[in-house]
């Protein structure tokens, strides 16, 4: 397991390196300059670009940038002094809100998705099952911003129950914490539609398949009650494949938040991404892209590890490939366990 994680982390580094490199080159090739003030004459623009090293050969710029990144310095905005350190001042500042909204949406999506998917599978062909199927199709086929627009129209404009967009609590301007929390409801709902629908559908399919498997029959043949069969045997096995899609789901959320944040004016990570990209603020764009990629690969790693934890086939299959440290840890663990269990282990 440990070796496995190590390998994955190494892969992450390689992936991130490639992402950064490709992104850098793409942005380099993108025409224009961060100095887009139309009042600068071409020669003035060139002189100021020279000052910022933007006219150096691409390899020099790339090397300089990568050297800085290797020291975890992602640079800041070029044409304005808004962000000296895009990572500290922008990403760290905005990540919590993006993560909070995305995280809640994912949790809600997972919980509701799993619950209703499971209920649909248990009560197959009931009205509940049929509604789950229909809602599932609707949920995956309609993009989240359409939901966002509908929600805004209904709950903010027509009914006036919820604020039209997100506003941070600020007593000076007259916005309470309640306003802030209310403002998060619609974005979260809009974001969670896709995970709810996908996970629901997936869970249902998986569970139906598990129900038809022999080991469920055996569990029933043991005389276990229906709830025991469902909870002890069926759900867990159905969850394993479902977990694999939670990863992509989280990634979908990251992508979805790009649109949703703009829709509800949420000052999150993606808020200025488009602006930065259009303004050819290379470092800022790169840093945000890098961070998105980083989240992406981390989510995949977490899902893989989680998958290993929950599915013994993977967990143990990789045991044989344990590295030195892994073996050491395992033997210590075993010793500890056998002490507790009265030295039962005989291998």
């Amino acid at each position: 397991m440990l070796r496995y994680v190590w390998n994955r982390i190494l892969m992450i580094f390689v992936t991130l390196f490639l992402i950064l490199t490709i992104n850098f080159l793409l942005l380099y090739l993108m025409p224009g300059s961060p100095f887009q003030n139309p009042r600068l004459t071409p020669s003035q623009r060139e002189r100021i670009e020279d000052k910022y090293g933007l006219n150096d050969p691409v390899l020099v710029q790339y090397g300089r940038y990568m050297y800085k990144v290797s020291k975890l310095d992602f640079g800041g905005t070029i044409a304005t002094n808004t962000y000296d350190d895009i990572f500290e001042e922008y990403i760290i500042d905005r990540l919590p809100l993006t993560a909070k909204i995305g995280g809640i949406a994912l949790i809600i999506g997972t919980v509701i998705g799993i619950t209703f998917g499971a209920l649909a599978a248990i009560r197959r062909n009931s009205w509940l099952d049929n509604s789950v199927t229909v809602l599932g199709v609707i949920g995956v086929s309609i993009p989240s911003f359409v939901f966002a627009a509908i929600l805004q129209e209904v709950f903010a404009i027509n009914l006036d129950w919820l604020p039209l967009f997100y506003r941070e609590a600020n007593p000076d301007i007259g916005h309470s914490l309640k306003d802030q929390n209310l403002g998060m409801i619609m974005p979260i709902i809009a974001l969670s539609v896709l995970p709810i629908a996908s996970i629901m559908r997936y869970m249902r399919t998986e569970l139906v398949e598990v129900f038809s498997s022999d080991y469920i029959l055996l569990a029933q043949a043991k005389g276990l009650s229906k709830p025991a069969v469902i909870f002890k045997h069926a759900i867990r096995n159905a969850l394993i494949p479902v977990i694999t899609i939670i990863g992509p789901m989280a990634i979908n959320l990251i992508a979805g938040s790009l649109v949703i944040e703009r829709f509800f004016n949420i000052p999150g990570l993606s808020n200025s991404l488009v602006t930065f990209t259009l303004a050819k603020e290379t470092y800022a764009t790169l840093a945000i892209n890098f961070f998105y990629s980083f989240m992406y690969v981390t989510v995949i790693l977490i899902v893989d590890i989680l998958y290993g934890v929950i599915d013994p086939r993977i967990r143990l299959a990789s045991n044989s490939k344990l590295g030195l440290i892994g073996k050491l840890i395992k033997s210590i663990k075993r010793k500890f366990q056998s002490d507790n269990a009265g030295g039962e282990v005989n291998e």
């Binding site: 139309p38 003035q44 044409a79 304005t80 004016n265 259009l278």
Partner: protein, 614 residues
């Protein structure tokens, strides 16, 4: 069989050739250098259709370059004169003036127009004649490349222009080359276009800010236009050779050369915007230069009649408390409040409220170019190159709690320090180009390669910059050439004073986002609060002209890139007091309300023809 095949082959060939012939396209880059071709194109476009039907936001169709409502100069009576009014006086008899119907409710329901007005018959005639002269065959299509930037809101304009030209001038084709704004900046100077879409707003209150662009060799003269008479008029005006009415008329003549004689530009429209604003707000003047508004002038109508019964809550919140309050919307975070490095409109706008330069942009109502600010008075040397400013001695530096900083007042040294920062190659400020624009002696240091110089050496070089504290309250500026718009530029934030001791105590963090305590204030307001939700401007009791300032507190709520509909909703909810209706649909929905108002702007939008005669 063979025979059939060969017949088929010949037939196909013939069809192909015929097809090619009918489709034959030739480049228009030669023809565009012909003045009658340019005139034909100019007259072929119905601009009023674009402004009134497509935009429908009360923008003016323009047959002129220098916008309507822009200060032209001093007239014979010694008062400021609107440029267009004077243009009509001078050339009204000569020009085939047509009167556009201006939107009802605007101050002038008839506005002068003029050069190359929309006229299909004449356009067609000019075009056919030109085709003959150039020997263009009937079946040949002339292709003009139009370079534009791909901002979504402009596409309807590009399409309109293309459709009009292609419809009215037979055998033309407009090939739209759509690139990002940044890419357009790169591409325009290469001259790889026949027609270029551009816009220009003024830097200072003098027609030169527009006219200078097309002087031979100007960095913005992407069409490589050159006319000796035009150059003479502008360059002489710049150095102050003409004064008063003479100068104004020189500009009017120059514009006529540019538009009527040479048809270098095809003006399209002067952009205006429609918005909603509390009817009780007074003196919310739109500035034609620099910041959109100067809050110093704004006030609430406090008479009871002004407030409707249903506005009781609003009234209570705005004027009935301890302080009068104005609430406005900010759609992007203030990027950078260090006056000598900042580059964007939001920062400039806010700096103009909290700091003050030598001059203050004139109150638009008074038609004055500029008013004294930190400089109480000034003198100019004989040759117009040396300006000596006498500063007022009683303006304290104010901290973000409204109290005085270290007992310090604004001195000449503060200007010297700020200007040197602007020019400092180590700071590499984008706006150092302004030093070149006004021609301050020694501006070249800004672009010098100083990698091999020590800090002391650089400082020595900087000391040679033409700005000097000749007394504690006396500032002397030396220019390379006389340029009397120089004074107008002194209201621009890049030239504001900065307190050196305070700056040194903070270093790089000076003026940084979200840190009101990292700034010192010498203007009508100071930043009392600045966070991720917005910022608050608080009236400064230590401001020399504080009696003019009416509103105590201006609260800006920040909703980054707020959708236009959201913005309007905020206004309707009473969260903000002024909003612009940014889409046609919004104008349609709310355009009839009693609190609708049109905001003029002095940005000109036009097409440039690639004349390349130089």
């Amino acid at each position: 069989m063979k025979k059939v095949l060969s017949i088929l082959f010949v037939l196909t060939l013939a069809i192909l050739l015929a097809g090619c012939k009918g489709d034959k396209e030739i480049s228009g880059s030669g023809m565009i250098q012909d003045v009658n071709v340019r005139r034909a194109i100019s007259m072929a476009i119905d601009k009023a259709y674009y402004t009134d039907t497509i935009l429908a936001n009360e923008s003016y169709p323009a047959d002129y370059y220098i916008p309507y409502n822009f200060y032209g100069g001093i007239g014979d009576n010694g008062e400021g004169v609107d440029f267009r009014v004077r243009a009509e006086q001078v050339f009204g008899d000569f020009l085939p003036f047509t009167k556009y119907d201006m939107p009802a409710g605007s101050a002038e329901s008839q506005s002068p127009s003029g050069y190359n007005h929309y006229n299909i018959e004449e356009a067609k005639q000019l075009w056919e004649d030109s085709r003959k002269r150039f020997g263009i065959e009937k079946d040949e299509t002339v292709v003009f490349k139009m370079l534009v930037h791909n901002t979504a809101s402009w596409t309807s304009l590009y399409d309109h222009v293309k459709a009009e030209i292609e419809k009215n001038l037979t055998g033309t084709k407009i090939k739209i080359i759509s690139v990002t704004f940044g890419e357009k900046l790169d591409k325009a100077p290469t001259g790889d276009f026949d027609i270029l879409f551009s816009g220009w707003g003024p830097d200072y209150m003098d027609p030169i800010t527009y006219l200078d662009l097309f002087v031979t060799g100007n960095g913005h003269n992407n069409i490589h236009y050159s006319n000796p008479e035009y150059d003479y008029l502008i360059n002489q005006a710049k150095i102050g050779a003409f004064q008063g009415q003479e100068r104004l008329d020189a500009y009017v003549r120059a514009e006529k050369i540019l538009l009527q004689d040479d048809v270098a530009l095809l003006p399209i429209f002067q952009s205006n915007s429609v918005g909603l604003r509390r009817t009780q707000l007074q003196n919310f003047y739109t500035q034609s230069v620099g910041p959109d508004y100067i809050l110093k002038w704004v006030s609430w109508d406090t008479t009871d009649d002004a407030w409707a019964a249903k506005e009781a809550d609003l009234k209570a919140a705005r004027i009935d408390g301890d302080e009068t309050v104005l609430k406005l919307l900010e759609t992007s975070k203030i990027p950078d409040m260090a006056s000598f490095t900042t580059t964007d409109q939001v920062s400039f706008y806010n700096l103009a409220q909290i700091n003050e330069g030598l001059m203050v942009a004139g109150n638009p109502q008074s038609n004055e170019q500029y008013l004294p600010g930190m400089a109480e008075s000034y003198t100019v040397s004989e040759d117009g190159k040396v300006y000596t400013f006498t500063l007022r001695e009683d303006q304290p530096w104010v901290k973000s709690d409204g109290t005085q900083y270290n007992n310090e007042v604004v001195t000449a040294e503060d200007f010297v320090f700020a200007w040197r920062k602007l020019a400092d190659p180590r700071v590499a400020s984008e706006y150092s180009y302004l030093l070149e624009t006004i021609g301050v002696k020694g501006w070249e240091i800004a672009y010098e390669d100083v990698t091999d110089m020590t800090d002391a050496e650089i400082d020595t070089e900087l000391a040679k910059l033409g700005v000097e504290a000749t007394g504690e309250f006396e500032l002397t500026v030396t220019l390379n050439t006389a340029a009397d718009y120089f004074l107008g530029m002194m209201s621009f934030p890049s030239f504001y004073p900065v307190n050196e001791a305070f700056y040194t105590s903070l270093g790089e963090d000076y003026g940084k986002t979200l840190t009101p305590e990292n700034l010192l204030y010498n203007g009508a307001y100071y930043l009392s609060n600045w966070d991720n939700n917005g910022h608050t401007l608080q009236k400064s009791d230590l401001y020399w002209d504080k009696d003019t300032v009416s509103i105590d507190k201006v609260i800006y709520e920040l909703v980054e890139s707020a959708e236009p509909e959201v913005q309007v909703q905020m206004y309707l909810d009473g969260d903000i007091d002024s909003v612009i209706l940014r889409t046609g649909a919004l104008v349609e929905t709310y355009g009839a309300r009693s609190d609708v108002r049109t905001t003029g702007s002095t940005t000109a939008w036009y097409l440039e023809f690639n004349i390349n005669n130089h």
